[in-house]
């Protein structure tokens, strides 16, 4: 059946399954992706159905995982790599930044390295250190990479399809705290462009820009605000590099107020770039400075404090109020 109601984790699993079925060059690799099906069960059942040769349990070495994936891509494969948690991508950072991101340009376009790096990211799951981070800006700043993140099951399915089909390396951030949120997935739909933002809710008074796990929070904020008479437009960015500034601009030209929300620390987070660029593009439209709600300049706190650290409904609405009060 083409339309199913699936949790995000399962939508990703289905997307991987589709990719493995339709393209023999697609590989899935990572720590514990085989029999265990990944620590989040995202790759559940894939090794059983596609064999150890295509769904590969790797040694515990992230640089090795990405580095060998690059080699396999050079050989014509399309590896989809899983990094177990956000905080464990850094041993692979060198391979991602100096090799994966630059190899196509280095070769003047003569080789392609279509590697997808899947990273469950973000907090809110009560985990220990290194399991709750949002390092997307550290990848988006680097030319040669594309960085995307779905917020719902349908996007999870389709954006991963598109990421795998892309000839560019794609860092695919998965909002782990939303893995079990269900949504409709139409596997025969015509998906939106991978790198375009979508309006998740229309509104007229203020624009909330978010992506991944924060879209849900922003939609809730919009609902609450609506009850209070404020009409909020929620934009789901979906892609952080490239970032759909046109869509943000269009919304802001209408609403004249912009608040950006992400879990990552505010300082040099993607909100900084959005604020800078939208202010440039909409200097005469903005009635208030772009406000940002995000993490603090502190290591991600222990789980018992994460609700204080993470942008929640109250902090988003506070920023909305401050923006509208200008």
């Amino acid at each position: 059946m083409a339309v199913q109601k699936l949790p995000i984790a399962k939508a990703i699993n289905e997307s991987l399954r589709t990719a493995l079925e339709t393209d023999p060059k697609v590989l899935v690799m990572g720590e514990d992706v085989g029999k265990l099906g990944g620590v989040f069960r995202v790759t559940d059942g894939l090794q059983k159905d596609f064999g150890e040769d295509r769904v590969i349990d790797t040694p515990l070495a992230e640089s090795g995982i990405v580095g060998t994936a690059i080699g396999m891509a050079l050989r014509g494969y399309r590896p989809v790599v899983e990094i177990q948690f956000d905080g464990f991508v850094f041993p692979a950072y060198d391979q991602i930044v100096t090799q994966l991101a630059k190899m196509h340009a280095r070769a003047l376009g003569k080789v392609k390295v279509p590697v997808v790096v899947r990273i469950p990211y973000g907090g809110g799951i009560g985990a220990v250190e290194h399991h709750s981070e949002s390092p997307e800006a550290l990848f988006a700043h680097v030319a040669g990479l594309k960085v995307v993140t779905p917020s719902n099951a349908s996007d999870a399915y389709w954006m991963l399809q598109q990421a795998i089909q892309s000839d560019d390396p794609v860092i695919f951030f998965e909002p782990k705290r939303r893995y079990w949120d269900k949504g409709e997935v139409d596997t025969e739909a015509v998906p939106a462009d991978l790198h375009k933002a979508v309006v998740a809710r229309e509104g007229t008074d203020l624009t909330l820009v978010a992506y991944g796990p924060m879209v849900k929070v922003c939609l809730e904020a919009a609902t609450v605000a609506a009850e209070e008479g404020t009409s909020i437009e929620v934009l789901d960015l979906r892609s952080i590099s490239p970032l759909d500034f046109d869509a943000v601009q269009k919304s802001v030209e209408k609403t004249r107020h912009l608040v950006v929300v992400h879990e990552a620390p505010v300082f040099l987070g993607s909100g900084a770039e959005i604020a800078a660029r939208i202010t440039e593009r909409c200097f005469y439209h903005l009635e208030a400075p772009v406000l940002r709600v995000g993490g603090y300049h502190a290591p991600y706190p222990p789980a018992r404090l994460e609700e204080e650290y993470l942008p929640g409904l109250d902090r988003v609405l506070d920023a909305v109020d401050r923006s509208l009060a200008y």
Binding site: E31, D32, G34, K35, L36, G37, V39, D57, T58, P59, L60, A61, S63, G64, G87, F88, F90, P91, G126, A127, V128, E129, H130, F267, Y296, H297, A298, P299, P301, P302, A303, R304, L305, E306, E308, Y309, R315, D318
Partner: protein, 395 residues
């Protein structure tokens, strides 16, 4: 943290000068063995609890009296009891996660009791038994798994570094620390724990290189518990792990990780090499993770239960108990007293955890920097004002 200091906490640190034993370490046996690439498992106590003679390692445990053995036994039982309590606490929702050491008590207690107070220990996240022997308050280990902090003890109190979660990282810290010891001209040593999975990380290889090149006094203690979450050791290496060391120019030796006496002997030997200026050693403790990787894990997905059952026959605690019962005059009272003592520990830990307060929300702005940071100050102030605004509303 010598064997005799059976008291579990707060042992005073007593640095020692180079001993005669350490000076003779040069001619020690395992070194030659390793150089020969000997694949034997060092074992001093069979699974049935019979003492195996070892011309090579017996001298390293010659001082171990029956009392000392009982001390080791007690350590293992206490560690297991503590661990079981933590698993229960996790099930009850008091902890977010717990990585159980079940099955690895001998590897941890044996190696830890080989260390001196002035040695320094760099653990992974599973070294609860080592922490116990080092004198870390058991409840302090639970804070990070409850989510109230990321490391709840002062590493310098017991020379026991914080748990490190990013696999392999701590082996480099251990090496650097050992390089520092060498610079200081001290005769203490460092022990770095890591797992079979960790052996694949580039950092571990780099720590081998640095420690060899600088001849750093560090013992790499690899607990090969056969699994890295769901991956068996074959996904990390195709030869026994202890052999890894040779290619970096230092000895590696495999010890029965479920034999506390052998672990003690081999680690003492390796630490003495370190003290004697002979540089690093790799000890592979061949053991088994009897439980799940952590309380979040479901091992039925990837391993047959027979495997665990087979390893149960090699249980580290049972074999020492068999030895104590059959070859020493340890009375039944010792075991019942110990059970009482361990239950007391369980209760103490349970109560301590339940009484653990959530940190104040302002704590998240603390300790990011030692010398302060303007942005943190600004954000702290904004956050405080924001919180205060609710109070005002409420008022």
């Amino acid at each position: 943290m010598t064997v005799d200091s059976a008291a579990s906490t707060g042992a005073a640190r007593t640095p020692r000068k180079r001993t005669a034993a350490s000076k003779t370490a040069k001619k020690s046996p395992g070194r030659t063995a390793a150089a020969k690439g000997k694949s034997d498992l060092v074992q001093l106590l069979t699974p049935e609890g019979e003492r195996v003679k070892s011309t090579e390692y017996d001298t390293y445990v010659a001082d171990i009296t029956d009392d000392a053995l009982r001390g080791l036994y007690r350590d293992m039982v206490m560690a297991r009891r503590f661990d079981a309590e933590a698993v229960t606490l996790q099930r009850q929702g008091e902890l977010g996660l717990w990585p159980s050491l079940l099955g690895q008590e001998a590897a941890q207690v044996g190696s830890a009791r080989a260390t001196r107070d002035d040695d320094y220990v760099f653990p992974t996240y599973r070294e609860h038994g080592v922490a116990w022997c080092r004198g870390v308050e058991p409840e302090n280990l639970l804070g990070m798994f409850r989510g109230v902090n990321n490391g709840g003890w002062d590493p310098n109190t017991n020379n026991f570094h914080l748990y490190t979660i990013v696999i392999g990282s701590q082996t480099l810290h251990a090496t650097g620390y050992a390089m520092g010891i060498a610079k200081d001209g001290a005769d203490s040593a460092v022990i770095a724990y890591f797992g079979d999975g960790a052996s694949s990380q580039g950092d571990v290889a780099e720590s081998f290189t640095f420690s060899a090149v600088y001849n750093a006094p560090v013992v790499f203690f690899c607990q090969n518990n056969q699994w890295a979450i769901s991956e068996p050791t074959e996904k990390q290496t195709r030869v026994p792990l202890y052999q890894r060391a040779q290619g970096f120019g230092f000895p590696g030796v495999r010890v029965d990780g479920n034999d506390v006496l052998a672990c003690l002997a081999v680690t003492r030997w390796a630490l003495e090499r370190a003290r004697a200026g002979e540089g690093p050693t790799l000890v592979e403790a061949f053991t088994y993770r009897m439980g799940a990787h952590t309380t979040s894990d479901d091992p039925t997905k990837y391993r047959a239960d027979e495997e665990r059952v087979a390893w149960e026959a090699k249980d580290p605690i049972l074999r020492l108990r068999a030895y104590l019962e059959n070859h020493t005059d340890t009375g039944a009272e010792f075991f019942t007293d110990l059970e009482t003592e361990s239950e007391t520990l369980g209760r103490r830990v349970r109560e301590a955890v339940r009484g653990m307060q959530d940190p104040d929300r302002m704590a998240m702005f603390e300790h990011g920097y030692a010398d302060g940071h303007a942005l943190v100050d600004e954000e702290r102030a904004q956050f405080a004002a924001y919180q205060a605004s609710f109070a005002e509303e409420g008022a």
